[in-house]
Amino acid sequence: MNKSKVNNMRIKFILIFLLLFFTATYGYSQDSQIPEKIRTDLNAVLSRLEKNMSGIKTIKTAFIQEKELAVFKQKVVLKGTVYIEKPARLAWRVDNPVKYVMIMSADTISQWDEDTGKVQKISLSKNPAFEAAIGQMSIWFSGSYSPLLKDYEISLLREKPALLKFTPKPATIAGNVIKSVTVDFRKDEQYINRIFIEEKGGDTTSLLFVDTRLNIPVEASAWKAGPSQN
């Protein structure tokens, strides 16, 4: 495995991450077979979410990610903090069981992990697939879902606070891996409370956001790919 192959591998792993957590939850179907009433409700909910999230410029939230592996029937729990600054800045910091940081900005992704102690930078301009995924991600965090008409069936499981279930249509990228994604919004619908992903292989991922703070100044150290300054 030479350097470029290792780099390509890293790029693909980050891309899988982006696809799983962000692309999967972007779109909703405008399927003509959906009854008019449900479609109207859905459109109303999505418009409301867009409006509620439009005033959010920065987010700092702790997360608890539970990955249940079908083979083991055991959960691997990852804990950390996410920082978001619109339009396209994101820091994903894992504190437990390992220390890891991924910083995404408009043109680069930087990664650091405690075990290797190395920072790796990936240019987005050289990776169009990444650029596309990041672009979609920024739309997701902007709350403007309307332009994101993707290949998903969407069910409104609860109207308020919104609980949405996205099922990828067959023959889509997400459809090869994901069975469904359920997105549960907080009471004020200004941010997500929990994302639950069911994969086709039987694994599940629950991503619970706790201690979420909106529109607070994000400390400069949050955007540094390195050990936590706290």
Partner: protein, 222 residues
């Protein structure tokens, strides 16, 4: 004058792959007059037969390092295992199960399966690290000042188990053919959990394929 010093250092660094050891080595204490059989017996009592652990792992190869999270479910008596690798954001990289004779790859991202037999390579490393941590029947013990070495010949190869440090615990397992190291596993910083011994650090060096796997214990599951 300087070159006489620098050149051997460069050669030495090259031979050792410039690889540092991120763990504390076992304290060098004289072995004393302990019976080798007793050392093996005591260690056997402290080894967990079944365990589920979460590790962080770093795979080093040709100057590159790739880190991930490993989940291992091992039964050393039945010689079965199930392992999964996840990246740090929780994306599954691979998953496989197996026993001493057979391995089943349940899942692996495409990058891992492009070349060679990925499943057998991972299974081989798991077996080297967690199985047969006790010297086999017929192993010959030799007492040295700071260590006890059990050596056993097997199909033209020699497998050695080295016990050292306070408590005379397994610190190294190595496999050589014609006195040339093929692979070795070093165990560091043992800790006791529920009356059993778990190394907090493990380094597997595969000299044949020139890679190194550094394992840090993060969690022991009930």
């Amino acid at each position: 004058m300087v070159k006489y010093f620098v050149i051997p250092v460069i050669i030495l660094l090259h031979l050792t792959g410039c690889a540092g050891i991120p763990f504390q080595k076992a304290e060098r204490v004289p072995v004393g007059k302990i019976e080798p059989g007793k050392v093996k017996e005591q260690f056997a009592l402290m080894l967990p037969e079944k365990f589920r652990i979460i590790n962080s792992m770093v795979f080093e190869y040709k100057g590159e390092a790739f880190s991930f999270i490993g989940y291992s479910d091992v039964d050393t008596l039945e010689k079965t295992f199930a392992v999964a690798g996840l990246n740090q954001v929780g994306i599954k990289l691979f998953e496989l199960t197996g026993n001493n004779d057979k391995t089943e790859l349940k899942f692996a991202v495409e990058e891992f399966t492009k070349r060679g037999n990925f499943a057998e390579a991972v299974a081989g490393d798991i077996k080297k690290i967690y199985f047969d941590r006790l010297p086999g029947e017929g192993a010959v013990a030799s007492m040295e000042k700071y260590e006890i070495v059990f050596a056993r010949n097997e199909n033209g190869a020699t497998i050695e188990h080295i016990f050292a440090g306070a408590g005379n615990l397994l610190v190294e397992k190595r496999y050589t053919v014609d006195n040339i190291a093929v692979w070795s596993v070093n165990y560091y910083e043992y800790r006791i959990e529920n009356g059993k011994l778990y190394p907090a650090g493990i380094i597997l060096e595969n000299h044949k394929y020139d890679y190194r796997l550094i394992i840090r214990l993060k969690e022991i599951r009930p």
